[in-house]
Amino acid sequence: MIIDVIIDIFPKKEVLNPETEAVKKTLSNLGYKNIEELVLSKQIKLSFKNLNEEDCLYQSKLMCDQILVNTNIQDYEISLLKKD
């Protein structure tokens, strides 16, 4: 069985993100004036084989802390999608 894991990585709120600010400003220039918040995130999809759900989540978390995420400036969320 294949288990898909989605990791969403986004900048911490307290870190001023110049890319986010630039996109927000451009949208505002295009006339979209009602945007309260804009989050630019990065998504990583992993497909695991021969592992149970618990181990998939555990390994994903290890990978995030080890390399995929810089927790000084980023937060992450892991979610699980099951496939046959």
Binding site: E14, V15, L16, N17, P18, E19, A22, Q66, I67, L68, N70, N72, I73
Partner: protein
């Protein structure tokens, strides 16, 4: 004076550093490929600038997991001196040998020009001792992710410990770095990460010779 220069796929200032060190120390530095796991003792390890692994994932993130990093950590734990320049600085923060993170320049532009950095009053360190605090060094920058970020508590700690090595001039902060920080030291003062490129102000055809002063001072401090 034995100097190692670590080379990763995508390093592009390794030869500049090599020529600068050879010229100033009159000794040949040694290139170390990032896959090496057992490196000899050196007086100084330099991690040069570049775009290691194409800056994929985050600048320095993939390089910080290369096999050679274990040897660099061992060198650091023995109190060995390490200098990371530009992408080398990013790698040192990704390995957590230095605090903080380098994020995109606040104007979202790649910056490449000369500027002054000001030597700070620091804890004992071979990288800054020998210079009078407030000394200005004219050294070029060339980076896209040089905006140094630490949270408020960590910044207080850096200031309290005297870990800020170099600052940009007030009102001439090119990239949005907190406290105008251009370079930081480890808690024991033996590791320096800096965004400016001292190897680009060494020879007479460069715009300044202040990088030469920086390396000469560093070598005197390390040998004294």
């Amino acid at each position: 004076m034995r100097v190692a220069i670590i080379v990763f796929p995508g390093s592009n200032c390794d030869r500049d550093i090599f020529e600068a060190i050879k010229y100033i120390s009159k000794k040949m530095p040694k290139y170390i490929w990032h896959k090496e796991t057992n490196i000899e003792n050196f007086d100084l390890i330099i991690i040069p600038g570049g775009f290691t692994f194409g800056d994929y994932l985050r600048c320095g993130a993939l390089a910080s997991n290369s096999p050679v990093i274990k040897s660099i950590r061992d060198h650091a734990s023995r109190g060995g001196a390490i200098l990371g320049i530009c992408n080398g600085f990013q790698i040192l923060t990704e390995t957590k040998l230095l605090p903080g993170t380098l994020i995109r320049n606040n104007a979202l532009k790649f910056l490449c020009h000369d500027l002054n950095v000001i030597v700070q009053d620091t804890l004992p360190s071979p990288f800054t001792w020998g210079f009078k605090p407030t000394t200005k060094l004219n050294i070029p920058i060339a980076h896209n992710e040089g905006n140094y970020y630490v949270n408020g508590n960590e910044l207080k700690k850096l200031i309290f410990n005297g870990q800020i090595a170099f600052k940009y001039e007030e009102n001439f902060n090119p990239n949005g770095s907190v406290e105008n920080i251009a370079g930081v030291l480890s808690e024991n003062g033996r590791i320096l990460g800096m965004m400016p490129h001292p190897e680009r102000s060494v020879f007479n055809h460069h715009n300044s010779l202040d990088g030469k002063l920086f390396f000469q001072n560093l070598m005197e401090q390390l040998l004294s």
